[in-house]
């Protein structure tokens, strides 16, 4: 797993209180990890802080899996 993936996974585990094994790249935040829409807002904020990226609302709406988050971050971090 890439360094980005490791850090994303850590944030998801901490924020959603789920077991690390469940946080696979294909996992959907809502369907597989029990998040609601506000949890996703919080996760996006945490990703922004951690990686120093800005995730605009329209991009955030397209992030539904762990992989979506990693891909966006890798493409946009400085």
């Amino acid at each position: 797993m890439s360094e980005t993936a490791d850090r994303v996974k850590k944030i998801v585990v901490e924020h959603l209180g789920v077991e690390a094994e469940k946080v696979t790249e294909d996992a959907s935040f809502i369907d597989d990890l029990g998040a609601d829409s506000l949890d996703i807002v919080e996760l996006v904020m945490a990703f922004e802080e951690e990686f120093g990226v800005e995730i605009p609302d329209d991009a955030a709406e397209k992030i539904s899996t762990v992989k979506d988050a990693i891909t966006f971050i890798d493409a946009n971090k400085g």
Binding site: L16, G17, G34, L38, E42, M45, E49
Partner: protein, 419 residues
């Protein structure tokens, strides 16, 4: 009118996070006071408080027992304390597995005096330093006072009345009184009722200290600071935690063979209409609140054995309350024992009235009056009444009166009796 009884108890306090541990410590005259550890309070007028102790330490509270990890991250401490105490009470009552039909008739009335002050303070700093896009999406519903009732109703599927009292330091008593009426008036059959607080934070301590309400002369000896009716008292010690009871309609409780701690017989409420923080100089509001609760209960003054006083250890309040009790009870005052358990766990603000009602019920169960710690030299005017100084006292206790008074001049009294 339908009768209302108490069938479950839950406590999170500075002296333990389950009912029997707390009660054992209260009867052993232990104090939950110490130096503030939540933040660096050096430089504050008051550096002491009665904090809920961390998990894994003596009398500690483990939030993981009953509160989901995700919820813990999102909400202020008062909500965490409240959810846990409510869970304890439901478990004690044996009501964690109610049918959907029963849960339509089961509700929550769990309030707080101040609510999420620590979170409001810290998120204000986030807003100031990092801007609006960094404010947590859980900020609002993690701080609102009615979110104990909200969270508890969701966790346990309770679909009856969902209510939250906010009457400063009388919140806990008003919550129980109001919820008992909801059952009496047939709005519900079961109510989780009580109060919580978790305001030991820089703003909370600074604010109450500036209002000249906190003890400041005992920073070096915190266990001696809360001393109701004592000549050297100089203010209250802030506590935190929660108390929640299960109230249940009597016939229903009897039919299912529930353990019954006591019956809520009388509830009194009044306003001082005098001053925002100072009590009425003749204790008029306190008197009328107690008088109403006694009248509603149908009991005679001679029936009351124990009074759990508001008794915060402030110079003005303690004696005015005692004066009102003296006027109400007349010559019967020599037969009652009256104590302030705030001497042991501090002032739980919105949680106080509920926690102290639980102590009243346990006093009836075990026939013992909890002590008033540090009452070494009673003030003039404290003669002729047993204030249970320093040590618990075994005695007959069949009926009790509990007082709670709050900023704004709000007063609540509850009369409860063993069956």
């Amino acid at each position: 009118m339908r009768r209302v009884v108490v069938t479950g108890l839950g406590l999170v306090t500075p002296l333990g996070a389950d009912v029997e541990t707390v009660w054992k410590n209260i009867l052993a005259a232990k104090s939950g006071a110490g130096q503030i550890t939540r933040f660096d309070a050096s430089g504050y007028a008051c550096t002491i408080a009665c904090e809920v102790k961390p998990a894994g330490t003596e009398n500690g509270f483990d939030p993981n027992l009953r509160v989901d990890h995700k919820v813990q991250r999102q909400v202020d401490p008062f909500i965490i304390y409240g959810i846990d105490a409510a869970g304890q009470a439901l478990e004690d009552a044996g009501l964690t597995d109610m049918s959907e039909e029963e849960r339509f008739r089961a509700g929550c009335s769990i309030g707080a005096g101040i609510g999420g002050l620590p979170g409001i303070a810290s998120e204000s700093i986030v807003l100031h330093e990092k801007g609006p896009r960094r404010v947590s999406p859980h900020f609002v519903h993690g701080r609102l006072i009615n979110l104990i009732s909200g969270q508890v109703s969701i966790k346990y599927g309770l679909m009856g009345p969902n209510h939250a009292v906010v009457t400063a330091c009388s919140t806990g008593a008003h919550s129980i009184g109001d919820a008992a009426r909801m059952i009496a008036l047939d709005d519900a059959d079961v109510m989780l009722a009580g109060g919580a607080e978790g305001a030991i934070c820089p703003l909370g301590i600074a604010g109450f200290a500036q209002a000249r309400a906190l003890s400041t002369n005992f920073n070096a000896t915190p266990e001696r600071a809360s001393r109701p009716w004592d000549k050297d008292r100089d203010g209250f010690v802030m506590g935190e935690g929660a108390g929640v009871v299960v109230l249940e309609e009597y016939e229903r409780a009897k039919a299912r063979g529930a353990k019954i701690y006591g019956e809520v017989l009388g509830y009194g409420l009044s306003g001082d209409a005098y001053h925002v923080t100072a009590p009425h100089p003749e204790g008029s509001g306190a008197f009328r609140s107690m008088e109403m609760a006694m009248r509603k209960s149908g009991l005679a003054m001679s029936d009351i054995d124990y009074v759990n006083a508001h008794g915060t250890s402030t110079p003005l309040g303690d004696e005015l309350e005692l004066g009102a009790v003296r006027r109400l009870f007349g010559s019967e005052i020599s037969n009652i024992s009256m104590s302030s358990t705030k001497s042991a766990i501090g002032h739980l603000l919105g949680g106080a009235g509920a926690v102290e009602s639980i102590f009243c019920l346990l006093a009836m169960r075990d026939q013992i009056a909890p002590p008033t710690l540090n009452l070494e030299n009673p003030s003039d005017g404290c003669q002729g009444i047993d204030l249970v100084p320093l040590k618990a006292k075994e005695r007959k206790i069949k009926a009790v009166l509990n007082n709670s008074f709050g900023f704004g001049g709000t007063n609540a009294s509850l009369v409860m009796k063993a069956l």
